[in-house]
Amino acid sequence: MNSKSLVSIDDISKDEILELIEKAKYFEENPNLKVLDGKVVATLFFEPSTRTRLSFETAVNRLGGRVIGFSDASTSSSAKGETLKDTIKMVSNYADLIVMRHHLEGAARYATEVTDVPIINAGDGSNQHPSQTMLDLYSISKTQGKLNDLTISMVGDLKYGRTVHSLLMAMRYFNPTFNFVACEELQMPAEYKKFCDIHGIRYNEYKDFSPEVINSSDILYMTRVQRERFTDIMEYEKVKNLYTLRNSMLADAKPNLRVLHPLPRINEIDQDVDDNPKAYYFDQARNGLFARQAIICRALGIDPEKK
């Protein structure tokens, strides 16, 4: 694999994570820098994801680079049966960097093996989405002033939610305490609890989204409970409103608590939370732009502060 690619948050060290956070901060202060002048970035979205694609493309545009690509596989040659390898090889002739999203797991890792052009994984099925993790880390660091020694409560779908899994793994460097709040069907998988045990990470499991959990947290990381995750639809109907955050529930929360959500949210955060200063999910999405600018510059070996 070419070393500038970013396929999984596991590929980068603690120092690199901290470096990316520093750079994201720099881009937040200087969002329009023409450091990508003359560079072409391909955004290959084999699976549609408007939010992520717009964020990456805005990042490139604000840095003065150019974007080529497609936003839906049906408009690309993969609809004609072209292999991923051939598409990647073809695009490698044109672009300095490839940002790709694919519905198949492992697609981005494979892409790094067929080209020397750096690859940024913008999501491969339910596997990895490292730029989401970087923006989560940046949001936590920015709102708390640190990453170390925080209590993070993860709520909702902890079984299938790749964002919580990646965040959990990336936080291993920073001595966190986790609260896992989920119904029986959507508990944190055993392999991630084992990961916590191996790395000496403290965690508690709850089925109730209780004041005790909320009031002890520095970060509330909410996720969407999706109907299609349930084998028993009655079970979904029973639990769908148990993990909804309402403004009144934040009354006794710590002053530094912030509510994060990878978005889109449906009903797991009530609209009445939006005006609470602790609601941070829209700013979190904005931080994605700066985190992605940092990731793009790392992939291209560009130091914005030296240009």
Partner: protein, 153 residues
């Protein structure tokens, strides 16, 4: 059963390879993995034979063929306790256990239907994450599989 008949059941090899101590359940997977259906020399496959250590075992004798070590080691994923004997002039000239490599390329299929390896013309790659329980992890999608559930490519 007379001694003559015993010898007939498991004929001695002049030259070739004997793979012994294969778990009975894994025997035909081993046959497939080594591509033995394409061997045209004498081939003896025995299964459900009594074994003091394993209770029941399988054995494969391949005449006049020496299978390269890296190929034969692939069976470690499904038959980690198997022993390989190399025979020359009716004598065992080498005897060793199969060894599980750190990385398995093109040996087993990923059980995740959404894995890229099941959708592109490419070789699979697994890394061994737990030698004691023979657990392997897909290099691409990250799915872990226990060896007993591994499907051969």
């Amino acid at each position: 059963m007379s001694n003559d008949k015993k010898e007939l059941a498991v004929a001695a090899l002049e030259n070739g390879t004997v793979i012994d101590h294969i778990p009975s359940k894994a025997l035909f997977k081993v046959v497939k993995l080594l591509g033995l259906e394409n061997v045209d020399t004498h081939l003896t496959i025995g299964n459900n034979l009594p074994s003091k250590r394993m209770g029941s075992k399988g054995i494969i004798k391949i005449a006049d063929v020496t299978i390269p070590e890296d190929i034969i080691n692939r069976i470690a994923i499904i038959a980690p306790g198997a022993k390989v004997n190399i025979i020359r002039d009716f004598e065992v000239v080498a005897k060793r256990p199969v060894e599980l490599a750190d990385t398995l390329i093109g040996v087993v299929k990923c059980s995740n239907p959404k894995c890229i390896t099941n959708n592109e013309p490419m070789r699979t790659r697994f890394e061994v994450v737990d030698r004691d329980n023979v657990t392997i992890r897909c290099h691409y999608c990250g799915k872990t599989v226990n060896s007993s559930d591994a499907r051969i490519c």
